[in-house]
């Protein structure tokens, strides 16, 4: 058993009468490739929001490298390496992809508050931006305003922005949502090429992608952990098949 990087203990979130996260205790090991699956409304995105500090838990704690980070603000968690992508693109519309990435890289280098030097003065910024732009094939649109980019490009920038933050724990909330079939593989190729010590927690509906990518799976149902284990164990679990895989075979569910 390798060392635990991220851990939740009895995490609970209540919105009035609804409990989207109900006593969730999970551990994510260093270098894990974990998928988080569950039917719509199972509380997957809520869990990500709790982990990143966008939402405050009603009860329970979150631990990173053995330190309690439950009270830390979202930006402080990012500085410690917990980085996410969003299901719906969250981008800086008036900036260019190059500027967005340069800002993210600067933030990661701890010079995001520098006001007396031009963005990109630090020699570490531009090469990193070049690499990311090339990796995500954004180099041809690097100087166009984000708001004028096509959806596919913005989706790539969404992921690239997260990677610019040099995550140690990367939380991917449906990274290929709305991405055409052919380009999904490319995004996953880049994610797969992340250093082995980076832990990845993936929310995804496409079971083929989950099975190709993940080594372990957590199934959430009604906000609680329903099943957990290796891909083989979970995919063969008859209960999981009943509540989730069974449903996803139904064509009416997310394609």
């Amino acid at each position: 058993m390798s060392e635990v990087v991220l851990e939740t203990r009895g995490l609970l979130k209540r919105f009035g009468g609804i409990t989207p996260t109900n006593d969730v205790s999970i551990t994510v090991e260093k270098g894990a490739r974990r998928a988080l699956i569950g039917p719509n409304g199972a509380g997957k995105t809520t869990l990500i929001n709790l982990l990143t500090g966008v939402l405050e838990p009603t009860a329970g704690t979150i631990w990173l490298d053995g330190a309690d980070i439950t009270q830390l603000a979202p930006h402080q968690r990012v500085r410690r390496g917990v980085v996410r992508t969003f299901q719906i693109n969250q981008l800086f519309n008036a900036l260019t992809p190059l500027q967005s990435l340069a800002l993210s890289v600067s933030a990661q280098l701890g010079i995001g508050g520098q006001w007396w030097k031009r963005l990109g003065t630090d020699p570490r910024v531009a090469p990193r931006c070049d690499t990311l732009l090339r990796q995500f094939r954004l180099d041809d649109v690097a100087d166009q305003q984000v708001q004028h980019l096509a959806y596919g490009k913005r989706r790539l920038l969404e992921i690239a922005t997260a990677l610019a933050c040099e995550p140690r724990v990367l939380l991917l909330d449906e990274p290929v949502a709305g991405v055409p079939e052919g380009e999904r593989e490319e995004i996953f190729d880049i994610i797969n090429a992340l250093p082995a010590e980076v832990s990845v927690l993936l929310i995804e509906h496409d079971m083929d992608l989950v099975f190709n990518f993940a080594s372990s799976v957590t199934v959430l149902v009604n906000g609680a952990v329903f099943a957990e284990g290796s891909v083989e164990a979970v995919s063969n679990d008859p209960r999981v098949k009943a509540v989730y895989l069974g449903e996803s075979l139904d064509k009416s569910e997310h394609g």
């Binding site: 930006h75 800086f92 260019t96 340069a102 508050g113 922005t161």
Partner: protein
């Protein structure tokens, strides 16, 4: 040079029109000595508008009470000259420092809430300061204004200059402060900090998600903008030797917003172009029809907004089908 390095450098490169604008500012002092008083007013309004642009255009914070800082700077500078010492430079630094402190405190009020609450809160702060200046008449002179401010001469490497009636010294002094603030503003908006302001204007959630503190940035930019507005107010008080309740008045906050509407936000120079157009319009129209100048200004604003600034400044596009 890599593409990224080149692209980042290009964004911060000096444009030809920026140089032309600076040259025009300097030439206006040399070539239009008889208009120095009007030019001085324009430059003060321009600096005030540039300070609002930092929070409105870059960080996306709406304010209906930016005159709070303008007025506070004006009263501080006037009181400093009257009670402490008449040197304009020291008075300017004191006004900037104290207004920055006020801005830092007030920034805590605009961190939360929506645009609507921010409009109300900023309006409220300006009203409070207005009433304070009105009621503390033993200090501020109340509704009569602060009388008896005598400014000392301007000490420069080129010699001592008295503030004269024609505003030559005043305009040179104002221009110097304006240009220094422009340089600071320009450095700031091209820095990582400056880009992070645009980032949080566009998407606060994502700004926090790349590891940047939104609140720290809002406090910082509000403080800087307040300091610049305070400098503008101090310039007014120092060059006119007078501070009155009018500096806190709502019409000042509204006027500076109009200036930015005319000049455009988010590229730093909108306040300068806007102030020039606004003041010249004011001057021209009120010379022609003193009573109805607001009517014509209103028509101009309606046309500007309906037609769009881009189209209005490019006459050759007027008759083209879009």
């Amino acid at each position: 040079m890599s593409a990224a390095e080149d692209g980042l450098k290009r964004a911060a490169r000096w444009r030809w029109w920026e140089g032309a604008l600076l040259l025009a500012l300097l030439l206006s002092w040399a070539l239009l000595p008889s208009h120095a008083l009007l030019l001085n007013e324009i430059a003060i309004l321009a600096l005030f508008a540039v300070s609002l642009d930092l929070i409105l255009g870059y960080a996306g914070i709406v304010s209906l009470g930016h005159a709070a800082f303008f007025g506070f700077g004006a009263y501080t500078a006037a009181l400093f000259a009257k009670l402490v010492m008449p040197d304009p430079w020291v008075g300017m630094l004191a006004a900037i420092g104290l207004t920055a402190a006020l801005g830092a405190v007030c920034s805590l009020l605009i961190l939360r809430g929506t645009d609507l609450t921010r409009l109300m809160v900023t309006l409220g702060v300006a009203s409070i300061l207005y009433e304070l200046a009105n009621k503390l008449d033993w200090l501020t002179g109340g509704a009569d204004g602060l009388q008896g401010v005598v400014m000392g001469p301007l000490l420069t490497p080129f010699g001592r200059f008295e503030f004269d009636l024609y505003g030559r010294t005043a305009y040179a002094y104002t221009l110097f402060v304006l240009i220094v603030c422009l340089f600071i503003g320009r450095t700031l908006v091209h820095s990582p900090f400056g880009y992070s302001l645009q980032a949080l204007r566009d998407n606060r959630l994502r700004t926090a998600s790349i590891g940047l503190s939104v609140n720290a940035r809002l406090v910082a930019v509000y403080t800087v903008a307040a300091a610049m507005a305070g400098a503008a107010g101090a310039l007014l008080a120092q060059t006119s030797g007078f501070a009155s309740l009018d500096v806190f008045d709502f019409h000042r906050s509204a006027e500076v917003l109009l200036v930015l509407v005319i000049g455009g936000t988010g590229y730093l120079y909108g306040g300068i172009f806007g102030a020039v157009v606004f003041k010249l319009l004011h001057d021209l129209i009120s010379a022609w029809t003193p009573q109805y100048w607001n009517f014509w200004l209103g028509i101009f604003l309606v046309v500007l907004v309906l037609v769009g600034r881009e189209k209005l400044i490019r006459p050759r596009t007027w008759f083209k089908r879009s």
